[in-house]
Symmetry: C2
Subunit: 463 residues, 2 copies
């Protein structure tokens, strides 16, 4: 209906802002979203299958395929960040050519389309964490609770301290940006690690449970660190009330979810059994997951923590088996959007050492990468009372920073706290830890002599 909107444009009264935009560009935004999803799905399937053929985890293939279609190479899936415009997007150029659009229309469509894909990716990671929560065993997670807390605290403290002090001492970075960069080293990416663990059939192993538990905890710790650092950057002093509020909120949220698990189980099953129309299980499950994600977001934690908690709670119900089956196709459709867009947003060109400006950043990057790897690797050796545990696997499992690290880089860059080389270094650190961890995780788990207790789950998840 493009032609219509175009032909009607001269008749429009002065734009009542959005009503007009929507009526005019609606079908084109849909076209842009459909094109983006086609590219994302093609990339994710080709990447995953190629990775599988070379015996890598499929998720690594999805990330690399994302890089290929993203800002680093083909410019098919790009987002309006870092000065990128509609004219940089190959998809938008195609859309503009097909419909004879003005540059202004293309900009509006590009912005809306990017926002829709971003939200879909966020819903994708929410569904991913919900699924992972469903697959995690709460009782087992409680058993490794203390170990997970230790691993998380060490894994936050060591890279934060080493990164901040190293940047100040070796590279003479000012205190506030150094602290910010140090903070960016703290939070492990639950999403990527859990996906790889689940692909290796190790999600329910003791190591897997410690890693996921610690990743959940250090995500919370990371957010708290980010909050403190941002307060620092703004006022020059730490806002103690805010810090206290965040710490208490996060703790209450997770404990609350676990307690709720015991109470809500039977209510959920009772509701589901009363429903007679289509979607009787999946819709109530999604309502619950989204409410928890919303609460997570609303109390200034992360939506994914809420979704993970929702999965943990519903894992304890009788409807679990059926829900597991129903959630799979939904996750298959939504989760690749997250992984491909994480790859697509990462600009690998900042790695190019031929460009002189990149070299300062490269040295800092090498330092940050080493601290990021070493600072998490040591956490494996802090686990106590678990003889014969695969310490290397735990350390390696904590390495990927993924989406959380990218959030740090994004906020730091938008706020102007970070210099360009420092920002670039954080991005490189995020990319390398994200890309290196999956194969290393495979190697460390491959070296385990412990028999794989979850071969059935493994087969199911790897295929």
């Amino acid at each position: 209906m493009t032609f219509l909107s175009n032909s009607l444009t001269p008749l429009f009264s002065p734009p009542p802002l959005l009503a007009t935009t929507e009526a005019e560009n609606g079908p084109l935004i849909l076209s842009g979203v459909l094109l983006s999803l086609i590219v994302i799905y093609l990339a994710s399937k080709l990447g995953a299958e190629a990775a599988k053929r070379f015996d890598f985890p499929p998720v690594l293939g999805e990330l690399l395929a994302g890089v290929l279609v993203g800002v680093s190479a083909l410019h098919l899936i790009i987002f309006p960040e870092g000065g990128l415009e509609a004219s940089d997007s190959l998809l938008m150029t195609v859309l503009q050519f097909l419909n004879g659009l003005s540059p202004e229309s293309v900009s509006t469509i590009f912005a809306s389309q990017s926002e829709v894909i971003s939200v879909l990716a966020e819903i994708g990671v929410i569904v991913l964490l919900f699924e992972i929560g469903l697959e995690s065993d709460l009782r087992q997670l409680k058993e490794v609770g203390v170990q997970a807390v230790v691993v998380a605290c060490v894994g936050v403290a060591v890279p934060f301290a080493a990164g901040t002090l190293g940047l100040m001492a070796i590279f003479h970075v000012a205190a506030i940006p150094a602290i910010f960069a140090g903070a960016a080293l703290t939070a492990t990416s639950i999403g990527i690690t859990s996906k790889v663990l689940s692909e290796l059939g190790q999600l329910k192993s003791k190591e897997g449970q410690i890693i996921v538990g610690a990743a959940v905890i250090d995500d919370v710790l990371g957010i708290i660190v980010l909050a403190v650092v941002a307060s620092l950057a703004k006022t020059g002093e730490i806002d103690a009330v805010n810090v206290l509020y965040l710490i208490l909120g996060a703790t209450a949220f997770l404990i609350g979810a676990i307690v709720l698990g015991g109470v809500f189980n039977k209510t959920f099953v009772a509701i589901v059994e009363k429903l007679e129309t289509r979607g009787n299980i999946i819709i109530p499950a999604f309502i619950f997951a989204f409410i928890m994600a919303f609460i997570g977001n609303a109390i200034h934690l992360e939506a994914i923590l809420g979704a993970f908690a929702a999965g943990l709670v519903l894992d304890e119900t009788d409807a679990r088996q059926e829900l597991d089956e129903l959630i799979k196709p939904v996750a298959d459709i939504l989760v690749p959007i997250f992984f491909v867009t994480v790859g697509a947003r990462a600009d690998l060109r900042v790695l190019n050492p031929m460009v002189p400006e990149n070299r300062a950043g490269l040295l800092i990057a090498v330092f940050l990468v080493l601290v990021a790897i070493a600072g998490k690797l040591v956490t494996g050796w802090t686990v106590f009372g678990q003889p014969g545990i695969n310490r290397a696997a735990i350390g390696v499992g904590m390495i990927p920073r993924g989406e959380v690290g990218l959030v740090f880089a994004g906020i730091g860059s938008a706020s102007g706290i970070l210099s360009k080389p420092l920002e670039v270094s954080i991005i490189i650190m995020v990319i390398l830890t994200t890309f290196l961890a999956p194969p290393f995780l495979r190697i460390t788990f491959g070296n385990t002599d412990t028999p794989d207790a979850n071969s059935e789950l493994k087969k199911e998840l790897v295929s």
Copy 2:
């Protein structure tokens, strides 16, 4: 992370438009979308279950629940159309209160959030039509092809002519708005009719196939009529090349899809069998469906026609059974967004006869509703060579105008072609035909003596 974005705002350099908006409002847009989805899912489930208890089709309950949460009543799910702003939205008020936002931020978030929900609703109707295509039998649709064409043509010509001439003769409406309103009477809503048919287990009956076939065809015809009318409105004369292009494009698209069906079958199954990672069936199916939807959109037809064609093609493959199972949870999650938002957008307050301004519109509305119902009802008696067919059911099945009619009203209102009473009348016509058809369809099919050949499908779909 709201507090962060807020606290960092003073540090932002003059906004590079979207990078800033996204970084600043990203988590709040997600919050808005999550809140909207929670309300939509709650409404859809409560509405569907209530309708089921009163023996109405669940889809009617979803629409009515949509009206309840929408612009007519609770103002939970509203869109920035017809002068509505963020401050009119209860959800936005909650979000503003929770986060202490400025009115400008709320406006931006409201706009983005509404766009995301709109696109999700559009993807919902794409998935719905894809699923309906999968459930339709192409060979059977071909058998009723001629009847469907006759029903469609009569169902477009009669309401168009009667509506346009009646408005000009009785209500002294000028030619161009009269033609536009007449055109708004033409296109049957495939989505609502098919959903009701499938709930009644009548999708594969001869009547069901004729209705769906005719709805597909008259949607194409409706778009052509709309194109012609829009050309008329713009230039005062019909653009013959554009009309020819549209007619040829639509025909080629549908015939092409059917021919492709014979060729693409084996390729699709061969690809699916080679894939070893998760989503091996559903992702290729969605890639195909979205490509077809994109083409449908790109050649100025509708995305849903492409998705329907894609479903028809994949229905012929061996992977069909498995795909049917996988698509269900995805449809359960996405389709309610469409039905609830259709209800939410319909402003029932324009029906209030206590407001004097509404009365002129009400008379026109009564006329349009009568023409809309009678003009489609007669189509049942144009079916030939099918002795014993349920003619009333076919006529009633063609009545709902739904989303397509709302598109007409939206474009007519945005372009200023339609006077307020005329616009209101079209909306009333759309609401009444949409709401009346499902129960009448149930009654007419209930009177059939033909044994229900699809009781299994029926049981499956109704539950």
